[in-house]
Symmetry: C2
Subunit: 401 residues, 2 copies
């Protein structure tokens, strides 16, 4: 077997005509001798339309039933794409998540892939079929249909690549990964090769092309991932193991997260049990905290600030309400008029000058920041939204992105 996984997103399969083009692309790849597993998302805006229906049915629809509902979206595109490929003369088989053996766990609408029983997919591939698998969905231990949350179809594709031990090709509306989003900085350059670490960091930090979870799986199982355009034949970006030839640039990318909420909690009683209580509540609601910063006051209180996705704002406000109910003196404020700017590069591990250059740049141009966080290969700042473009251009110029 010479397996290959190809993944097409919702906009690539939004109607039958576009599916025809996708089918053509798949058959070209097939004619190169690959045994192809295709992963597809729901057609166009289907998932949102189904969610709309759910909210007509119920103010707060049961998440289990939401999964049952929205998982139909991929099932429809799988069956139609399978029919089209079949019509073009190739044996195919369309599989839902559960049929493809995708086992998940976690909270409904935010499940994680636990394992894939690859036997069925492999058998169909051995029989020469093109296997079309529904992205974004699986079955949990209770036999309930689940979905994987944002970027879930990428996760399905990479997990299948891990099990089939092959390369995964993610076809999107962009032709690869850029050091900076070209909409923010038109002179941005496309990256030919990037390491899992850098890509993961960029994804975490807001580059929206791929979700960090899928890159994490790719990294863990050493799955080479290509991100390329569904519409052109331009070579895309290869995401792979870091190797020293990648080390010749100081930073790889800059990403900007727009939908950020900054929460500041002042005058919380000191002591790990109080902060732990807060973060456990946030975690129980599956709210992903991004940046965290904490300081102490001499009179025994803690000032805490964190950022999270703006999408989680309603959930966060619920948790904050619980905090104010519990601690009378606490002062809470939230700010959504900010963006997070992050620079990423493996070189930061070895070149200490990167952070210094950034601090100097911001000081020279009067760009104030509220939170700073660093990882081994990145540094992030929250700045006021109005300063976004100025900061992006300064950094891009300084680091030749």
């Amino acid at each position: 077997m010479n397996p290959c996984v190809m993944k097409f997103g919702g906009s690539s399969v939004e109607n039958i005509e576009k599916m025809q083009a996708v089918a053509q692309r798949i058959l070209e790849k097939k004619s190169e001798g690959y045994d192809i597993t295709v992963v597809v998302s729901a057609m166009g805006k289907t998932t949102n339309q189904l969610l709309e229906l759910a909210h007509q049915a119920s103010v707060n629809p049961s998440k289990r039933e939401v999964d049952l509902l929205i998982s139909t979206g991929e099932q429809v595109s799988v069956s139609l794409l399978s029919m089209i490929l079949n019509e073009k003369g190739h044996p195919t088989v369309g599989l839902t998540g559960f049929q493809a053996g995708i086992k998940t766990s976690g909270l409904h609408t935010k499940n994680k892939i636990e394992d894939i029983d690859i036997e069925k997919v492999s058998r169909h591939l051995r029989e020469g079929k093109i296997v079309v698998v529904a992205g974004f969905q699986g079955l949990n231990q209770d036999g309930d249909i689940t979905t994987l949350g944002r970027g879930g179809s990428d996760t399905t594709a990479v997990a299948l690549g891990a099990k089939l031990n092959c390369r995964v090709e993610i076809y999107t509306d962009v032709d690869g990964i850029y050091g900076i989003d070209p909409r923010l900085y038109p002179q941005a350059r496309k990256i030919d090769v990037i390491s899992y670490e850098e890509m993961k960091e960029m994804a975490f930090l807001g580059a929206k092309v791929m979700e960090p979870r899928s890159i994490e799986i790719g990294h863990r199982f050493r799955v080479e991932i290509i991100v390329a355009s569904a519409h052109t034949r331009t070579p895309g970006t290869l995401i792979k193991e870091f190797d020293p030839t990648m080390e010749n640039k100081s930073i790889t990318g800059l990403s900007v997260s727009e939908r950020v909420i900054l929460v500041s909690i002042n005058h919380l009683p000191s002591g790990p049990k109080h902060t732990a209580d807060l973060f456990i509540r946030l975690a129980q609601n599956e709210i992903n905290i991004d940046m965290i910063s904490q300081t102490h006051t001499p009179d025994g209180f803690v000032n805490l600030a964190f950022t999270a996705s703006f999408d989680d704002a309603p959930l966060i406000n619920d948790v904050l309400k619980q905090v104010t109910d519990k601690y009378e003196d606490v002062i809470i404020s939230t700010d959504t008029d900010i963006v997070k700017i992050s620079v990423v590069g493996m070189a930061m591990r070895t070149q200490s000058g990167v952070a210094a250059t950034l601090f100097e740049l911001f000081a020279d141009h009067d760009i104030d920041y509220k939170l700073i966080t660093t990882s081994e290969i990145s540094i992030s700042y929250t700045i006021d939204r109005v300063l976004k473009e100025k900061a992006v251009h300064l950094i891009a110029l300084a680091f030749h992105l």
Copy 2:
């Protein structure tokens, strides 16, 4: 447990508003102390819209993928109805066919229920939940999603009733079973109680309220079925075991099948292997033959005529083509400008006058018929379509329907 199965068709759940009314109806029943399993069809015209998409994707879409596609219709209505019931304060669980343990076999798009692993449904009922099950679908031995063909949701409901050993209530747009379709004969009377045999015969013979398959299952497992209006509180028709109190009328009903094709095959070589060959080919294509009539000629040939559903006309023509290819001298003609009129009644078993009355009626009023078939409790005639209304009125008057 005090189980009850309620089934709602596509027009009863065609939008959220109608689903709200259905939910209200379910909760009323629940408040009477029943443990309720609901079976729903796809919303309104969803199945047809999905089939339309399939035909855009492929001239001759793979039936396996058609099943994968159209089964999403019931999954959507199950999840939405479950959300609505849940919103109204009742614990619910929505289940697809495979989740409800419905095991099927046969040709895709025309599967039959083999068995139901009722454990999961029972467990949810014991936990006090309203269980909402997708009608019309199941899973076959290969783990492929299947659908049950026309009337499939009724079949799902009655099969669940058989497993749960309880009454099944079929909610429709009509308020019960009539001796004659009121659209054909406005003075028609609703039947309060009817035996499985009569109902099955009427369904076979064209009364469209229920498919014969579901009544057959009801009969075999002694499931009491009520057919009633989804919109009013009028008592419906109870379908149950025959008992002598039903015997006081000579015929129960008259039904008319509109979509009939009459095939006449003349000059086929005599001998059972030739007719068997024809009927085996028809069966392999899952074409249901209705009336059959055969005569012999002195010179060793057979003249054969049969009727089938007009929907199967393309498949039938394929088979007829094979026959003409094989037997050069055969002469084949088809007629679709006919209807089949049938009268049904348990009384025919004991009252020999029914058939005589009919023949006399037809002779007196010059109504010519091409094929006649009889069963223990019915007699059917094919007549020209133009004579339909005349025949219906004559029979209704003669037998006080």
